[in-house]
């Protein structure tokens, strides 16, 4: 009895523009992933399936399920509406059930009529027999075939959407609980039997009373007592009904209190992690700015006045230049010497002596007279004046040019050799900043995670907390009041029962016969049977809850394996009003987390998987499990665990997920997406992997989704 969906196709359906052939997804056993970001046809795909199976779709504007027929215009491709006057929209599912193959298509024909559209819906079903497609025409047969895909009683659990999960497995609401119990054990008939039994015991009461009145019609005392008895029995009935109402109100108040307790308990934690996140955010910004600055400064460091990186490796040039300068000085001196042969002998007189000789007209070197303007006197004068009219030995004098340069670059001889290590240190500094930034980012993510686990969300604020405190006080008062009301009501019933016993005794004392005894016995028998049926129902109910508890906890543990915070365990607590509260506790039965949505979702998913798996014993679930995956706020770890468990529970699952998507990466997958694709490619996870991409980035009315098959 296994159903496997082979393909799903769309025709001009939301973003899926074009014919069925253009928009087909081929699926297999195992996990079939359709990876798409928001607005990329993820939820629209799911809507297609809802339409085909249930004639409903989820309206994202109204945020609830609506009938498909009321939504046809919204379901039509914007591009088709804009560009065509006559087109069809549709969803087609091709599936096999054991050896039979079927193709089911729901189609709506759109025809432009003046300014509006006329629509016409059709349902086409083909059965493939011996390779021939035979149309199925009988309406009842068509309905049966659609039910083969997923049977009605399992529809809610096999067709899973994030938003609707909460109501589905809210065991603390009567609706949620009864549908869950119903899905698990089909005890609707037992419940009806209890109802019948209650009615029967009321009938016997009346019968017995009437008989008593009949027999004792003349006895005023007895008729009076019977009257009183009827009155009291009536009051007891209505009071019991009232107690049921009180119990419901009490349960709700308790649930509210527990919820608020967790919220308030975690307010401090939230504050703390909010603060930690902010501080880390500031720190990260500071570090990023610092790194940024450092990176931007590199260019100016290349040209720094004191230690310019641009000159790295060029230090020998300075000493080379210096040598050249010295060589030049030497060469100039040599040249000068060659050009000026006049040399003063050793022991030549100094300037003052020469001046004296000029004055005294005596040459002190050779001791002979040197009259003014004589040749010897001229010679002495020339020697004395030699510094003043020293002849230039070279035509140009570029010494200051070279020395100027030497001065400018001289200091570099010390700094240039150090540049290599300076650069190295600078690199290291930037690397260290990078590491530090990464570390802080991780810490910030951890703080974010803790914040969410403490019930944090963007809307949490001081104001909300104040409101919560007042709601909490109100809940406590309500609990007190309802408990008091119940106590009083139960006391009344007890008193009335006592009185009834008295009346019974009195009546028996006054009048008894075997005939009336029979009726009395009948009455008591039926009352006891009512009690017996009621208790049997309770026993069965408790057994179901116990099994659900065990099974759900098994799934929960597998799903939360490896998570940063320990997942704790699920605890199922029956309430006074007959509902069941499922909370997450730690090992010591203490409240584990506040309202971390992530954990709530895991709890819900565990219960769903427990329900599904308990329908099938140890086999796999034989129908497709289709989920618009409620994976937001889960870590990668949970998603990994889910993909590990799912193939064991479901023969085929089709999962729409956005948490593997990264629009910036070249294959649109993030790290986790790539890891999962790899596991699929090497056979660790059986199934297929599709990615949706938007083709035109025009305005949203013309969005067109295409798919890319990464693993077929």
């Amino acid at each position: 009895m296994a159903t496997i969906i082979k393909s799903v196709s769309f025709q001009n359906f939301y973003n899926y523009y074009g014919s069925f052939d253009n928009n087909t997804y081929y699926f297999k056993e195992g996990i079939n992933i359709v990876n798409a970001d928001n607005n990329m046809g993820k939820s629209k795909f799911y809507n297609g399936i809802l339409w085909l199976l249930k004639d409903t779709v989820y309206d994202s504007d109204l945020k609830r399920m609506v009938s498909a027929s009321s939504s046809f215009p919204k379901m039509a491709s914007g591009k088709a509406l804009n560009e065509e006057t006559n087109f069809d929209i549709g969803v087609k599912i091709v599936f096999v059930e054991n050896a039979d193959k079927y193709s089911v298509s729901k189609i709506v024909q759109f025809k432009k009529d003046g300014g509006s559209w006329k629509t016409n819906e059709k349902l086409d079903i083909l059965q493939t027999i011996d390779n021939r497609d035979i149309p199925v025409l009988d309406v009842a047969d068509k309905e049966k075939i659609i039910k083969k895909i997923i049977p009605a009683e399992l529809m809610n659990y096999a067709l899973l959407q994030g938003e609707s999960m909460e109501e589905l497995v809210d065991l603390s609401s009567h609706n949620g609980l009864s549908s869950t119990i119903e899905a698990l054990a089909g005890i609707k008939n037992l419940i009806e039997i209890c109802d019948i039994s209650k009615d029967l015991s009321q009938k016997t009461r009346k019968l017995s009373n009437d008989k008593e009145k009949e027999i004792n019609s003349t006895n005023q005392k007895i008729t009076g007592l019977i009257q009183e008895r009827e009155t009291l029995e009536g009051r007891i009935e209505s009071t019991k009904t009232q107690i049921e109402i009180y119990n419901t109100e009490l349960s709700e108040a308790k649930k509210k209190k527990e919820t608020l307790e967790a919220i308030l308990l975690n307010a401090q934690n939230r504050e703390k992690f909010r603060g930690v996140q902010q501080a880390l955010q500031n720190e990260i910004k500071r570090l990023k700015d610092e790194k940024d600055n450092k990176e931007k400064s590199i260019t100016s460091l290349l040209f720094s006045e004191s230690s310019p990186w641009i000159l790295m490796g060029l230090q020998e040039q300075i000493s080379l230049f210096d040598n050249r300068r010295q060589e030049l000085t030497a060469e100039i001196a040599t040249q000068k010497a060659i050009n000026n042969p006049i040399k003063l002998p050793e022991g030549s007189p100094d300037i003052p002596s020469l001046q004296r000789m000029i004055r005294t007209h005596i040459c002190e070197v050779c001791g002979r007279p040197a009259p003014e303007n004589s040749e010897p006197w001229q010679h002495i004068k020339m020697i004395m004046e030699r510094p003043a009219n020293k002849e230039k030995s070279t035509k140009n004098d570029f010494g200051s040019f070279y020395s100027g340069i030497q001065t400018t670059v001289g200091s570099f001889s010390l700094s240039i050799p150090k540049i290599a290590s300076v650069v190295q240190q600078y690199r290291e500094k930037i690397d260290n900043l990078e590491d530090l930034i990464n570390q802080k980012e991780e810490e910030k993510e951890t703080a974010q995670y803790e914040f969410l686990n403490a019930g944090g969300s963007e809307s949490n604020s001081d104001v909300t907390d104040k409101q919560n405190i007042s709601d909490y006080t109100f809940a406590e008062k309500t609990i007190e009041k309802k408990e008091e009301d119940i106590r009083r009501a139960e006391k009344s019933i007890k008193d009335w029962n006592t009185r009834l016993k008295q009346i019974e005794g009195e009546i028996k004392g006054i009048s008894t016969s075997s005939e009336i005894e029979n009726y009395r016995n009948f009455k008591e028998t039926m009352v006891s049977i009512e009690y017996i049926f009621h208790n049997s129902k309770e026993r069965t109910f408790n057994r179901i809850i116990e099994q659900l508890n065990t099974n759900a906890n098994e799934k929960y543990i597998e799903l939360t394996k490896g998570n940063l915070s320990a997942g704790g365990k699920l605890v199922f607590q029956p309430q006074t009003d007959g509902t069941v509260q499922v909370s997450i506790k730690n090992i010591n039965d203490g409240e584990l987390t506040g309202l971390g949505t992530g954990f709530q979702r895991m709890k819900q998913l565990s219960i769903i998987m427990a329900i599904i798996s308990s329908k099938i014993g140890n086999k796999q679930f034989d129908y497709p499990f289709i989920s618009d995956a409620p994976f937001s706020e889960f870590g990668d770890n949970f998603i990994n665990n889910f993909f590990k468990i799912a193939p064991n529970v479901f023969k085929q699952s089709i999962i729409f997920i956005k948490e593997l998507y990264d629009p910036a990466s070249e294959n649109y997958l993030n790290d986790l997406g790539r890891k999962i694709l790899k596991k699929m490619e090497n056979g660790e996870i059986p199934g297929t992997f599709y990615v949706n991409i938007i083709e035109e980035k025009a305005d949203t009315t013309n969005l067109v989704t295409k798919n890319k098959c990464y693993k077929g």
């Binding site: 990176e295 931007k296 400064s297 590199i298 260019t299 100016s300 290349l302 040209f303 720094s304 006045e305 310019p308 990186w309 641009i310 000159l311 790295m312 490796g313 060029l314 040039q317 300075i318 080379l320 230049f321 050249r324 060589e327 030049l328 060469e331 100039i332 040249q335 070279t394 035509k395 140009n396 004098d397 570029f398 010494g399 200051s400 040019f401 070279y402 020395s403 100027g404 340069i405 400018t408 670059v409 200091s411 570099f412 290599a420 650069v423 690199r427 930037i430």
Partner: protein, 164 residues
């Protein structure tokens, strides 16, 4: 002629670059940025780019001279280049090689004004040769290894390649 005159002669020149490298220079320079601090993968002012290209060509040991038929653009006047210490370093590097392009310092001491003019012209030509070889090298990197320019250390890395 004395040292300051020679310095002025050189200083009033405007070294040129080949027009074909204009786009590259625009890409890696931030024109008019006087702070000297460009974005991390661009130079502050154009002459920083020129000096960098010169050093690259010098380290390569290659020159790419401007031919008479090639289109060129002038750079800012050499005396205004900054920082002056690096500018002077470049002068020093060329002076150290002056014999290779035909001029001994001692000869310059005795040279006529015309000869000095020739020297200065050749000096600048040599500078342009290295710079344009550097631009050619950078153009190649830009065209074929463009990812390198996304790294803040791109220009440091390019220089370090020569010192290995």
């Amino acid at each position: 002629m004395d040292g300051s005159q020679l310095r002025d002669l050189i200083g009033q020149k405007r070294p040129r670059y080949k027009e074909q490298y204009r786009a590259l220079i625009d890409s890696i320079s931030k024109k008019g940025d006087t702070s000297g601090k460009g974005d991390f993968s661009s130079f502050g002012a154009y002459y920083q780019t020129y000096m960098f290209a010169f050093i690259v060509g010098y380290k390569l040991g290659k020159q790419n001279f401007i031919q008479s038929n090639e289109k060129t653009n002038d750079f800012f006047v050499f005396s205004q280049w900054s920082p002056t210490s690096i500018r002077d370093y470049i002068v020093m590097l060329l002076l150290n090689k002056s014999e290779d392009f035909g001029f001994k310092w001692i000869e310059l001491e005795n040279a006529s004004t015309e000869t000095i003019d020739t020297f200065v012209t050749e000096f600048i030509r040599q500078m342009e040769g290295y710079a344009n070889a550097g631009f050619e090298y950078l153009q190649n990197k830009w065209d074929n290894e463009n990812m390198k320019f996304r790294n803040p250390f791109v220009f440091v890395n390019l220089l370090e390649e020569f010192d290995v």
